[in-house]
């Protein structure tokens, strides 16, 4: 209990003094995870929509694989990207390893399957409702994809938030491909892991509280946007 109280006090102190080091870590966390969500959405949402409307042999196997990939361990995703980006790897010459860009890529790989699997689930229900009417209008499955993405926008926002939550909370992938370099690739989760291993539990906990507050703020903002848009478009 003592630690918890100290943690709150430390967190408040960090926020109150706007500690530049902590602020930098916080902003990098936000930048990396939000960029990763945007990148993963570009691939994951259309893929989910396509899987919702397409019927092909082997579809079930693809869906099972995709659902299983939702449980992809962050360290494994990190390791795969590490192998790709390491000096000896196929993308080594790009020199991206231990940069924020590498962290974005790793997190995007981690959450793209989550976005695809969840949006497939959400949009399949919508497609069942729309399919006959859209076919009557002469729109096949391909043309239905953008329609479903737009009409499912409110449900898809929740899907994006699930992806963001996963990205902001993971530590394994960013640790491996980012390296937790102070002032360059250190984000909230890797900082928490570091402070914990150093034994500064109150500081680690304080950083954890701040991370949760940020995730809460992003969700509240998204919910507010959604409510405002839903009011005008139903």
């Amino acid at each position: 209990m003592q630690d918890l109280a100290t943690a709150f006090a430390t967190a408040l102190g960090l926020v109150a003094t706007a500690d530049p080091a902590v602020t930098g870590i916080l902003l990098l966390s936000l930048r990396v995870s939000l960029t990763a969500v945007a990148l993963a959405a570009l691939v994951g949402l259309p893929l989910g929509a396509l899987l919702a409307v397409a019927r092909f042999p082997g579809r079930r196997a693809v869906l099972v694989t995709l659902n299983a990939l939702m449980g992809l361990p962050p360290v494994v995703a990190g390791l795969l990207i590490y192998l790709l980006l390491s000096r000896a790897g196929p993308l080594g010459p790009l020199g991206l390893l231990f940069t924020p860009t590498a962290m974005v890529i790793a997190q995007a790989v981690l959450i793209a399957p989550i976005l695809a699997a969840l949006s497939r689930q959400v949009l399949e229900g919508l497609w069942e409702e729309y399919a006959e009417q859209l076919r009557s209008f002469g729109a096949g499955p391909w043309r239905a994809v953008p329609t479903l993405l737009w009409d499912g926008r409110f449900a898809l926002l929740t899907v994006l938030l699930a992806g963001f939550g996963r990205a902001a909370a993971e530590v394994g992938a960013v640790m491996i491909v980012g390296g937790n370099i102070e002032g360059f690739t250190r984000v909230m989760t890797t900082a928490i892991a570091l402070e914990t291993s150093k034994g500064d539990l109150p500081l680690a906990l304080a950083l954890g509280l701040m991370l949760m507050a940020i995730v809460l703020a992003v969700n509240a903002l998204a919910q507010g946007l959604r409510d405002a848009a839903a009011g005008s478009a139903g």
């Binding site: 409702e129 729309y130 209008f137 009409d151 409110f154 139903g234």
Partner: protein, 242 residues
């Protein structure tokens, strides 16, 4: 954009539809000419909805032929017809965006689609609600919007599958008036209903379906004055047919 050559008459021969082992339509044949509304009537389960979906191309027949009168390949037959469903399927968009959606699909520019969509909304009396979210409309307004959307496509043939089944009498009357207006403008109406009063009010011609077979096709006046088959007589008397 109405092309000069008509897709009517519609010639149907030996039409069968099976769902698994169940035979839903058996050897149905008829011709639909341009002109007044053709009402497909019959008890529940007679195959009315399936027949409309086959004609509109949403289902593929198990056997038989559906032959549109247009010279083969000259006219995009699918673009000249529209269909209204029992439960209107509205997009999660504004009323106007709903009406414009199929026009945009058909390749019209944004401005032209919006203008034609507004004409459609005016036809059904919804122009005042153009910016409202479509799915917040009442049931009757939703069906009128679906009608406006279909009418904006300026189809030569409009299929309606029990469009008033879920509506109250006032909304039903509004839909019937719009359907009558469209028919008067030259749109061929092909509509199913189990409501005999509605059939009497709208029909120029009746097709009576029973257990997947077409038992009668007759001018409405003649049909209601004296149907030729015992099944149709029983149906008109309101007896249950199974």
């Amino acid at each position: 954009m109405r092309l000069p050559d008509s897709i009517l008459p519609l010639l149907v021969e030996g039409l069968c539809y099976r769902a698994g082992a169940v035979e839903i339509l058996r050897d149905v044949g008829f011709t639909l000419e341009a002109g007044g509304p053709s009402l497909v009537i019959g008890p529940n389960g007679a195959g009315k909805s399936v027949l409309l979906r086959l004609l509109h191309g949403l289902l593929a027949p198990s056997a038989g032929r559906i032959h549109w009168g247009a010279p083969e390949g000259n006219v995009p037959v699918a673009r000249r017809q529209a269909m209204l469903f029992q439960r209107p399927v509205l997009l999660r968009r504004s009323v106007l965006a709903n009406a414009a959606y199929p026009l945009r699909l058909a390749g019209l520019g944004r401005a032209e689609a919006a203008a034609r969509a507004r004409e459609g909304l005016a036809l059904v009396g919804l122009e005042g609600l153009a910016e409202r979210p479509a799915r917040r409309l009442s049931g009757g307004e939703q069906q009128r919007l679906a009608l406006a959307r279909a009418a904006a496509l300026q189809p030569e043939v409009l299929f309606l599958d029990e469009p008033c089944a879920n509506l109250d009498p006032a909304a039903t009357r509004a839909v019937e008036e719009i359907v009558a207006t469209l028919a008067a403008r030259g749109t061929k109406i092909v509509m199913t209903t189990h409501d005999l009063g509605q059939a009497r009010r709208l029909a120029a011609e009746v097709l009576f379906l029973h257990q997947g077979r077409l038992l009668e096709q007759a001018p409405a006046e003649a049909f209601f004055a004296g149907p030729a088959t015992a099944e149709a007589r029983a149906f008109l008397r309101g007896e249950l047919l199974w």
